[in-house]
């Protein structure tokens, strides 16, 4: 029973992890918590649905197109929303992101209505491995998440773009002095983040159903994971997501399940009190 809950929690955590990592990436480059991640999840899922169901492309292809589509949308958002506001402080950007989320979510509602949609995938019964029930979608989720994380790690550690991103995150002024164009890095960060969020939207859509409110339901776990791990730390975001996933599933052993969303917060509050920068958060540079 406990092993099953832990397994379920890990898978829940993985779905959250992609969004949390995307959040933490944009945070480290743009220095504001991007509340639009909720609307991005929803839009990503709907783009994938549009490609998958009415156009009939298999889901992996749909996910790729969703990533591209969402990236294009976020590039436009960067150009017309975030860039004009870049120097107004984190909270202004954060509130603008909330407005953007409202726009994205309602574009989906305008185009697709309120009815829940589902991808064209045949659900399958679980395998039983020594008492544990593991179903293929959990494996898909795990593979996709791990692959995405590994890819991201490679990009961050071993590419020019990755170095530029980490440099801007570390010290934007110095990065400028070293010839790193922050606007370019910002745009590429949006592309990466949008791809991750679109994937997460597809996984969430597979897990539950696609409806205009799906992003809202996930925005809090995504933020909780990113903050628990320390905003700005991708590894921390993954760790935070997995911890929150497992803690929430395990909490039903002691409390009523309808209070389990509270568990995440209590955990965050406790961790933040002990480590105000999150689990793997880095000390910010003070000038």
């Amino acid at each position: 029973m406990i092993a099953q809950l832990v397994l379920n929690g890990l898978v829940t955590g993985m779905v959250v992890a992609l969004g949390a990592v995307a959040l933490t990436l944009t945070y480290s480059i743009l220095k504001f918590p991007n509340f639009a991640v909720g609307g991005m999840i929803t839009l990503g899922a709907y783009i994938a649905w549009l490609v998958n169901v009415p156009l009939g492309l298999p889901l992996p292809g749909a996910a790729v197109l969703a990533a591209i589509g969402l990236a294009a949308v976020m590039l436009a958002a960067d150009r017309f929303v975030f860039r004009p506001l870049r120097d107004r402080g984190a909270i202004t950007l954060l509130v603008a992101a909330m407005g953007l989320s409202l726009i994205l979510e309602n574009i989906c509602r305008l185009a697709f209505g309120n009815v829940a949609r589902n991808f064209d995938v045949d659900p399958e019964r679980p395998w039983r491995v020594s008492g544990l029930r593991i179903h293929p979608e959990q494996v898909t989720t795990a593979v996709v998440t791990v692959a995405a994380m590994a890819g991201l790690w490679l990009v961050l550690r071993h590419t020019r773009l990755g170095r530029a991103m980490r440099a801007v995150a570390d010290n934007p002024d110095l990065a400028a002095v070293r010839g790193i164009d922050r606007d370019r890095v910002t745009r590429r960060t949006w592309v990466l983040a949008a791809a991750l969020v679109a994937l997460s939207g597809v996984l969430i859509g597979m897990d539950r159903a696609i409806d205009p409110l799906m992003g809202w339901a996930y925005i809090i776990p995504v933020f909780a994971a990113a903050i628990l791990g320390g905003l700005g730390s991708p590894g921390g975001a993954v760790l935070g997501a997995l911890l929150i996933g497992v803690a929430q599933e395990l909490s039903v052993l002691v409390i009523e399940p309808n209070y389990r969303q509270v568990v995440g917060f209590v955990a965050i509050a406790l961790v933040l009190l002990a480590r105000p920068r999150g689990l793997l958060g880095v000390e910010e540079i003070r000038r």
Binding site: R160, R163, A164, R166, A167, A169, D170, N171, D173, L174, A175, A176, V177, R178, G179, I180, D181, R182, V282, I285, R287
Partner: protein
């Protein structure tokens, strides 16, 4: 207001020339129209009391602030409108105070980033070895996060990074800040050596006593204006000037 020394840009031996530069944040003007000529192959040091606008000035020269007025010329090219990210390719090297390295990146990555995004200013392997030879303290494990270096090592790493992009002028923001007296002396010596290898230097210093001996030229900045620009040795011997412009800072 004009400085004591006026330069003629056409026949100037200045590497970096600043004319009527005004800088500030929003409506607040901090640097109120300064003219400076940093001589080629020399160390020019800007001194002045706290709040005189030194840091704002050097950030403006590095391109981190958009000028409110005036112009900036490097080797006869107009840099005024260029943002920081483009000035480095034109030959402006900048070592900020304190936050002068990427703390979370390795030492090797810091060195790599010094030139990776600077088109056309890669140094050759020989130049590279020569530059690194100036900073023996940097012989550490490349993967070590730069934030874990000592204060002196960080300063060295920062200067090395700036030099690798082969700047025409190196801007140093208080290289002695936060260092022990022994390290201050070492750092100043390195500054001199770098200059002697042909890199013009413009630096800001609070520690006038340490900076003057290695400087060729001194600019005194008071309340956002140049109060005096003169040869360093002249200032060194003129105790009146000392008291008058530097006050307790000296």
């Amino acid at each position: 207001m004009s400085s004591d020394v006026t330069s003629n840009p056409l026949v100037s031996d200045a590497a970096l020339e600043v004319r009527g530069l005004r800088l500030g944040y929003g409506a607040t003007e901090i640097v109120k129209g300064v003219d400076i000529a940093a001589r080629r192959g020399a160390v020019t040091t800007i001194i002045g009391p706290n709040g005189s606008g030194k840091s704002t000035l050097i950030r403006g020269l590095a391109g981190l602030l958009r000028p409110l007025g005036g112009s900036i010329w490097l080797e006869g090219r107009d840099l005024t409108a260029l943002p920081a990210v483009r000035r480095v390719a034109e030959g402006v090297g900048y070592v900020p105070q304190e936050a002068n390295i990427f703390r979370n990146l390795g030492v090797a990555e810091n060195l790599r980033l010094a030139t990776e995004f600077v088109p056309g200013r890669q140094s050759s392997a020989r130049e590279r070895d020569e530059i690194l030879a100036l900073f023996p303290d940097l012989a550490v494990r490349g993967a070590l996060a730069a934030g874990r270096l000592s204060g002196g090592q960080r300063q060295m790493l920062a200067m090395a990074c700036a030099l690798l992009a082969r700047p025409s002028i190196l801007l140093l923001d208080e290289p002695s800040a936060g260092l022990s007296p022994r390290l201050v002396a070492e750092t100043m010596q390195t500054v001199r050596e770098v200059c002697d290898r042909g890199v013009s230097i413009l630096m800001i210093e609070q520690n006038v006593a340490a900076a003057l001996p290695v400087s060729d030229q001194v600019v005194v900045l008071v309340a956002g204006r140049v109060r005096l620009q003169s040869a360093a040795d002249r200032l060194l011997v003129d105790h009146n000037l000392h008291r008058l412009y530097l006050g307790e800072a000296a």
